[in-house]
Symmetry: C2
Subunit: 463 residues, 2 copies
């Protein structure tokens, strides 16, 4: 998950449907929901598929050979379980390559730093950059230092973790802000609450008006060390070497498969997550577990012989992490059919204990979802909150599709996020099954109930 939909609400008035007067309607769905939950809680196929994705294919950065293997394997899996209309919707994706990289503190002592270049960063010149470090806690401190003290230096942002949203801006916007003052490169304290000498990568951006300077994450420990030395007045010198570069855009695609609707096959509810990941770890929580849980939700429906009135589709979007091209390509592929996109559910917050869904829909629709979500109370996933969605479905939501984001406890998500430690073992089987159940029940309901959710307008995006 690299981004969140801006919480721009607008109340859209809408006449309440029959469901609002008679919330007992949901009881008609309880036997089906219970069957889906029971099947999910006994499922082993999905967990085995996730193990294969993580252990036999591994991480899946846009442009990489392993992503293309994952895409081919995913299409095979969808066909093997009998989904209809399995296809890869083409998308050209950016092809950023990390290359060889390292960082070393040269003074006051010589020691390697724990680093990971940030996604989309430029590399250093051959031979690297050697410069003194200026450490700042935040942008205000940087601005106060000014060009005199920043020009030619490596800027370290040692922002302590205050939650992902507030802290990630140093990773995303740190380079152009420092470049504007003449910095040679930036190091960013990894965006995480847990310090165990592991760096966290992730997306960064440049501004056209500013020089493009190399940007790398360092472990929280290394950031704290350098900041302390600087605070003590000890000059810190670092050598940074990064082979990062862009290659020409690569051919890739979103993988989809369906259970056609038995009454309105032209109307579609899409559920899914993103198949790409950063080039470290295994992309298990971000976002392998989500795509496999979504796929398995459809597998359970097929096994139980459930055919909702509308088409339910699973989508493995591509390039969520560093471009969002998959979501855009999917939107373009939908074309004028957008009116028939009834709802989109994205799962991109990992597969820890599910809590429910956030939804970018009007107040009546929230109430409808709350009634529906009681079917998930037995697994603790019955909470509906206003606001939600996901990077991959943002282009759909922008054009009026009702968007939901599955929500989890997120207890350790940012310990593992974008690191070598985002691995299969982090996905607990029981939690994984519950997520699968939540996606299956909510997906099935939205594809089957007569009512349609009413989206609230969204605009903009941020990483």
């Amino acid at each position: 998950m690299t981004s969140r939909i801006r919480l721009a609400f607008a109340l859209v008035l809408c006449s309440a449907g029959a469901w609002a007067q008679n919330p007992d309607w949901i009881e008609r769905y309880r036997p089906t929901a219970d069957k889906l939950i029971d099947a999910a809680m006994a499922d082993t196929e999905g967990y085995d598929r996730l193990a294969y994705l993580c252990y036999r294919i591994g991480h899946r950065l846009s442009g990489s050979e392993s992503l293309e293997r994952a895409i081919a394997w995913s299409a095979e899996q969808m066909k093997a379980v009998g989904l209809a209309n399995v296809r890869v919707i083409p998308a050209m994706v950016p092809h950023w390559v990390r290359g060889a990289e390292s960082a070393r503190m040269l003074a006051p002592v010589d020691k390697p730093l724990h680093m990971l270049g940030l996604g989309m960063s430029v590399g250093t010149p051959p031979g690297g950059i050697t410069a003194e470090v200026v450490a700042v806690s935040d942008f205000a401190e940087l601005e106060k230092l000014g060009r005199d003290k920043v020009a030619g230096k490596i800027v370290l942002y040692n922002e302590a973790y205050r939650g992902y949203g507030p802290t990630v801006s140093y990773r995303v916007y740190g380079a152009p802000r420092a470049a504007a003052l003449g910095a040679a490169a930036v190091l960013v304290r990894s965006v995480t609450p847990l310090a165990l000498q592991i760096p966290h990568t992730g997306m960064m951006v440049y501004e056209d008006a500013q020089p493009h300077i190399p940007a790398a994450a360092v472990s929280p420990e290394d950031a704290m060390m350098i900041a302390r030395l600087c605070a003590d007045g000890v000059p810190v010198k670092v050598h940074l070497e990064m082979g990062a570069h862009m290659e020409p855009d690569a051919q890739s695609g979103n993988v989809i498969g369906e259970i056609p609707g038995k009454e309105h096959p032209e109307e579609v509810v899409v559920i899914g997550g993103h198949i790409d990941s950063w080039d470290v770890g295994q992309g298990a929580q971000d976002d392998g577990a989500s795509i496999i849980a979504s796929l398995q939700a459809l597998v359970l429906m097929k096994k139980l012989g459930l055919e909702p009135r509308r088409t339910i589709r699973v989508a493995f979007w591509v390039n969520e992490e560093n471009g969002g091209r998959g979501g855009e390509a999917y939107r373009a592929w939908i074309g004028d059919g957008i009116k028939n996109q009834v709802a989109a559910i994205e799962m991109d917050g990992g597969a820890e204990t599910p809590r429910g869904f956030g939804a970018m829909v009007d107040a009546n629709s929230i109430e409808l979802l709350r009634q529906a979500a009681h079917l998930l109370d037995r697994i603790g996933a019955g909470e509906i909150t206003p606001g939600g969605g996901g990077e991959d479905i943002a282009p759909l939501m922008r054009d009026g599709v009702a968007g939901l984001g599955e929500r989890t406890s997120g207890a350790h998500y940012f310990d593992w996020h974008h690191t070598e430690a985002d691995t299969f073992d982090k996905v607990d089987l029981t939690d994984f099954r519950k997520n699968m159940a939540a996606m299956a029940v909510m997906g099935y309901l939205l594809a089957d109930i007569p009512e349609r959710l009413v989206a609230t307008p969204v605009s903009g995006r941020r990483r």
Copy 2:
């Protein structure tokens, strides 16, 4: 902390002193104890010294140049604060060198593993070892496989963490047990409750009768991955390359300094920890914080003008991690003076929130300590438990000296232990101050009260 004293108790009967009848004696010490605690809780010098040790000197493996720098710096510090009889007691220490090392899974997919060679391991032959892996959960499973299935293979011990004591035996004894069945090398799941793709090194041993085969730790994640692949019947091939080797023993030493006793300078209470560390991280929790807290305990006494009746000595023992030569050299240096070694307090469980002390003393002495420890109740460090000590003071305890081990909450100690993540930031200032206070008060008391603790016999050791 690599070892614990075996909890072999023997009840030594001893007539109760006057203190037992009148526990109010301790109130006479309360003003002094409070002064020490207040001073500790306001101290910043100690924390600054620890930052210097961690950030400017770094890790300190026996035989390394950085250990010798730490020893020289420590002696300077002791002199600078005015301790008497500052000296380095010579000790020859083993000089194990890690060398270049790496491990790579070659099949079913090619990817680097997160490894750290185990301390004292031999290296691989030049060019490394490439072999199939057999994964076992425990020794019983290994024995069941037998020579047919183990010979020529790399054995992976994927023992899940069940507490340090029970789990560490795979790290320590895994190599000879597998070598006895013809294994080519061993990989050991890191001994830790926290998986964040970080390997934990530590001591291992060989048996003369068995071939000496290379032994390395892998991250919990990599161990789980390999074990799962093996369980699924997927052949796993690993390439292991280690340049580890022994060099001739190196000259090193224990650093000591004293506040001479005003009535019985010949009687000594020694407090301290070990100055050496593994060659990763900064040896902050293991055991840098302990030696600096111990030193600072004496600094506080000096600043407060406190002179106990007996000599109080601080010792920075050497080579605790891979040989125990410092403790032995200290014992040899004491010689016939052993009878005057009144008590020894080791701090080697990190500097998290202190709880109190474990003591290898008789029941009456436990009662005495419990009365005394009430002076530490205000910082939560007033708990006395039977059994305790430390690797460095084990040679003293073996010869009848009353040994105490300082105890902490240990909430995260084994997350960081023997890793790159054992760094200064892990030491919380308030906790550090409390540890300093606990060492100061207990050290002062044992050096000043008329009574002597009565040790219970100890025997043997294990890592």
